[in-house]
């Protein structure tokens, strides 16, 4: 057991960080808000934590600081972005993700230009990483089950209806934005502490593809889906070594296939299978649920 952990420690750490990133995307997607901003906050968080660790700040201080700062900036972002709907929002946040590498490359000594920052001292253990992820999952699962989870589901189905039922739409949006940004920043900060190098090439399109694959393939309706997604994305390339150079291609294909045939993700597919095998009426899939004649 111990041997297994030490052999695969990097992969386990990777999975845990990715779980956070996937949850950060799900939090907004679940409210029907197509925001990809948390990818940008991941990159920003990783740089912030890299710089602070190099200046000998203690991680106990850095992590709350990064979470708080990304949350506040995310909330601030929410203000102007709350007016945008659908594709405009997707586009604005995507542009945010794509411009950050440009700024980092031009950041001079502070960000290390195109090379990034490397030789960051190892600042965190797998144990504390695990604790952080568990705490986040507990918090998120409570949010999912609670009032805010139901409000965000209502928001996704019909914004005007949700508003008429007393959901404070704008506030929910800001909150989702802030939580998503804070989680993205946290995941980034942890990744810099664990993997000891950050570079501008890590952000951008590749990370967006990866993040969305994780958030969607497992199932975006629950944190369990995020865990499944992060696990698959990290471990499948290890099992299928020959995939190596075609990693991105496989992710891309999987993403398309899942979107086409399992819109509720693998989790949704499994749930439906279970419901059917117990000879109970299957819970309506998303498409059936929302195919109400207007």
């Amino acid at each position: 057991m111990f041997q297994y952990f030490s052999d695969n420690e990097v992969l386990i750490q990777q999975t845990l960080v990715y779980v956070l990133l996937a949850i950060s995307l799900q939090v907004v997607l679940r409210c029907g808000v197509v925001s990809l901003a948390s990818i940008g906050f991941y990159t920003l968080g990783s740089y912030a934590s890299a710089i602070l660790v190099k200046h000998d700040w203690p991680p106990v201080l850095i992590l709350p600081l990064v979470v708080l700062a990304s949350g506040l900036v995310g909330y601030g972002f929410g203000k102007p972005l709350a007016r945008l709907r659908g594709l405009y929002l997707a586009m604005a946040t995507l542009a945010f993700d794509l411009v950050i590498p440009v700024l980092l490359i031009n950041g001079g000594d502070l960000t290390g230009g195109a090379l990034g920052i490397y030789a960051i001292p190892l600042a965190i253990t797998t144990g504390s990483l695990f604790v952080i992820v568990v705490v986040v999952i507990l918090a998120v699962s409570q949010i999912e089950r609670g009032w805010m989870g139901r409000a965000s589901l209502a928001l996704r189905s019909d914004e005007n209806l949700a508003r008429s039922m007393g959901v404070r739409v704008t506030r929910e949006r800001y909150l989702a934005f802030a939580i998503s940004a804070a989680l993205g920043g946290l995941a980034g900060a942890l990744s810099a502490m664990l993997f000891r190098a950050v570079s501008p090439g890590n952000g951008g399109f590749a990370l967006i593809t990866l993040g969305l694959t994780m958030a969607i393939v497992g199932g975006r309706d629950s944190w369990v889906g995020a865990v499944i997604g992060a696990y698959l994305v990290t471990w499948v390339p290890e099992w299928l070594r020959f995939v190596g150079p075609y990693r991105a291609l496989v992710f891309g294909l999987v993403l398309v296939v899942v979107i086409l045939f399992f819109p509720d993700g693998l989790l949704g597919a499994v749930r439906r299978l279970f419901a059917r095998s117990r000879r109970k009426p299957a819970p309506a899939t998303r498409s059936e649920r929302e195919a109400v004649p207007v």
């Binding site: 997607l29 029907g32 197509v34 102007p80 972005l81 007016r83 945008l84 709907r85 659908g86 594709l87 405009y88 997707a90 586009m91 604005a92 995507l94 542009a95 945010f96 794509l98 411009v99 440009v102 700024l103 490359i105 031009n106 996704r156 189905s157 019909d158 005007n160 951008g204 399109f205 967006i208 593809t209 969305l212 694959t213 969607i216 150079p245 075609y246 990693r247 991105a248 291609l249 992710f251 891309g252 294909l253 999987v254 993403l255 398309v256 979107i259 086409l260 819109p263 998303r286 498409s287 649920r289 929302e290 195919a291 109400v292």
Partner: protein, 297 residues
């Protein structure tokens, strides 16, 4: 200064071509096609492949490439996007799933080309087109490619504007963008129209790819990514679906970039697009040239 204007006119032409296709598929299909940068790259890549096998001139290579890229986009529409349009219950759902699918498709195309080129950058062979510099007096130097980019763009933009405004096809296209169900009742084959639109947008991406690849003498699997942000900025300036807006936006953005490269901190050229997006979205979310548009509940 006259050189700056000439350079921004030619660079802006490619931006306009590129943004037009993206804007078209967005306004008609509600599809923010993130595979669009990959289609642009495919255009450049196929020009390189064709050019290194046969001795065809640009006049043959261009239509061939446009046809190939248009065909690939029709295939993706029939296999993927059509299904997603009909499957999802709410517009928000289908927008999201199409967006995600297009990211997946982009990853597939980029990885394939990356593998084919072994990650090296290539160029379109001279047999396709010989770039020559033409001098107009002492102040102004242009390549023949820059002139071609400008002329092709102006002609195509006008043709597209006329087609969308005055032909039967254009009317149907604008109608479907607002309400596909009603258009179906009126005898418009909306699926065919969507496929045609996506084919036109693919052809424009491919065309822009070939022209820019020859102009910059450079073909690479990731060459489409930076352009995508620029196209976003252009669409935001011009408003979704507006052809005139895309033209103005494309030339404005190119002008700003050429100016900052000539006189300012050149490294920040790729950040301009983002600043534009942010400022316009904050001050005038519907775009500078957008007509009044009301939201459907």
């Amino acid at each position: 200064m006259i050189q700056v204007i000439a350079d921004s006119l030619s660079l802006g032409s490619v931006y306009v071509l590129f943004a037009l296709g993206l804007s078209l598929s967005w306004s008609v299909l509600n599809l923010l096609n993130l595979a669009y940068g990959a289609q642009f790259m495919l255009g450049a890549y196929f020009a390189y492949v064709i050019g290194s096998h046969v001795d065809w001139p640009l006049l043959v290579v261009l239509p061939a490439v446009m046809l190939i890229v248009a065909a690939t986009s029709v295939v993706t529409d029939v296999l993927v996007f059509r299904r997603l349009r009909t499957m999802a219950g709410t517009p928000v759902e289908s927008e999201l799933s199409m967006l995600v699918a297009s990211i997946g498709l982009a990853a597939v195309a980029v990885t394939l080309v990356q593998h084919q080129t072994q990650g090296e950058s290539k160029f379109v062979p001279r047999s396709v087109f010989q770039v020559k510099t033409l001098s107009f007096g002492d102040k102004l130097h242009l390549t023949n490619m820059q002139l071609i980019m400008l002329i092709v763009t102006v002609l195509l933009t006008i043709a597209l504007a006329v087609a969308v405004k005055w032909t039967r096809f254009g009317r149907a296209m604008r109608g479907v963008a607002v309400d596909p169900a009603t258009c179906e009742l009126l005898g418009v084959n909306s699926n065919r129209l969507f496929s045609t639109t996506i084919a036109i947008s693919g052809a424009l991406a491919g065309l822009a790819g070939v022209l820019l690849a020859i102009h910059l003498n450079y073909v690479d699997s990731t060459m489409g990514d930076p352009l995508l942000t620029k196209a976003f900025a252009i669409i935001i300036i011009g408003g979704v679906g507006s052809i005139l807006g895309a033209a103005v936006g494309g030339y404005l953005l190119a002008f700003a970039e050429v100016v900052i490269v000539a006189y300012g901190p050149a490294n920040y050229r790729d950040a301009i697009a983002f600043v534009v997006i942010l400022v316009v979205l904050l001050l005038r979310p519907s775009g500078l040239f957008a007509r009044q548009r009301w939201e459907r509940a």
